[in-house]
Amino acid sequence: MMTLGFVFLYGPIASVIAYSFNASRLVTVWAGFSTRWYGELLQNDQIKNAALVSFEIAILAATGALILGTLAGFVLSRYRRFIGRTLFGAMVTGPLVMPEVITGLSLLLLFVAMEQAIGWPRGRGIPTIVIAHITLGMAYVSVVVEARLASFDRSLEEAALDLGARPAKVFFVITLPLIAPALVAGWLLAFTLSLDDLVIASFTTGPAATTLPMVIFSSVRLGVSPQINALATILLVVVAVVVVIAGRLVSRSRRS
């Protein structure tokens, strides 16, 4: 049963990787091994530009989500009572399950209303996508950070406080290093979410910014293409390597 489950999970991904090395343009006819599509991919300026835009957005969004999400996770695990805590909790985890079309539409309408009212943001593009992705990513970061803080030995913090350290210093010298693996995992999660998002970015972008998923989507709508197979393979390998390395880092820091 379990083996079948894994075949179901990995079979489709394996087929994409296999076909990316197919010499034939006809995706299903095997005509021998070739790296031709990778070569063509590197010549494709549209895809290269979109990849740069996507990476820029993902790095900015993941960093913003890390800062705000860490604060939110800290607040949720440490401050049990304050005015509006229920609303805060609902808002933090809301974006996790909210259908993307709703998040995307509502943020776009906000940006348009803000432009009407205060003249900012003027038009839409990379900054508005980054704001949207921070909102989405901070939900994931806060869940990871809150879970880490829940299993956290607070006596270390208390010891530092007893020895006269200021609360802010305790946070940066004791708390942050101890939850570092969760921060790494949270940043990577927010990064890959941003890199992958099609729906929210489509709503909140303008003519100036086209992200990688938008290019993939419009090309996929026209049918399966060998170049997209090659691109998909590169993305899969990059993500797999990063996740495995991060997993190693996290488990090593847990052991030490």
């Binding site: 401050y79 304050f82 399950v97 909210m98 259908p99 309408l109 999660l189 899969l236 993500v239």
Partner: protein
Amino acid sequence: MRRFATVLPPYAWLALFFLVPFLIVLKISLAEQAMGIPPYTPLIADGQVQVSGANYQFLFSDSLYVRAYLNALWFAAWSTVGCLLIGYPLAYGIVRAPLRWRNTLLLLVILPFWTSFLIRVYAWIGLLKANGLINDVLMQIGLIHAPLPLINNSFAVFVGLIYSYLPYMVLPLYAALEKLDPTLLEAAADLGCRPRQAFWHVTLPLSLPGIIAGSLLVFIPMCGEFIIPDLLGGPDTLMIGHVLWDEFFTNRDWPLASAVAVAMLVLLVLPMGVLRRYLTGERA
């Protein structure tokens, strides 16, 4: 003071970029489409409040919207069942696996969740289409003579939904099953309970919180899914999330798209509240 400074940044951010946008959606759903920028009528014009229920009336009178709404519920509900039927044995198998294998197996489940959603859906096009891998193999071995219609229909949408959301189902199930105290099963066995009976009377009821959390975690976003019905579905698999997209991008009817969003939210608020209770309850 310090506490205030910690709470304020995320609170203000979420209020501005999560809460206020919904109020704007609600407001615009009560406006009417108009020429110009922005393409909707203002709430207050000439000192008078203009509110129109026309969009909602339209939603409920046009069978297209009602059908898309029901379609979304139908697909999401059955795909949730599908995820559960595949995810439960998977999670159970991982919990029962030798300890040194467990983390690796769990990582193998999570890994597809990290890789691109779009690419995972795309992979199925190559497998399911008329001259795709599955039809090709079946014809080669002579099992069928003409390609089966595997894509652009409900079958493909079910496959896509179950495949894409499976990891979200497995994780809460794994968390619930891992917490289960093995001595309870030993006690059941000592009292003469057969393994199968023990599963139905001990394991399954105790993993119920994981089942509920996992089911809601996949059901809610499935209801609003756009990419899967668009790439794998056909004319008869229209789902409400896709309708919202079309109203916005194709018809440029922002007020109607907003009304669709409000109608979806009304439906999903209750499951979201239940899910929150399960997720926070687990941590407490």
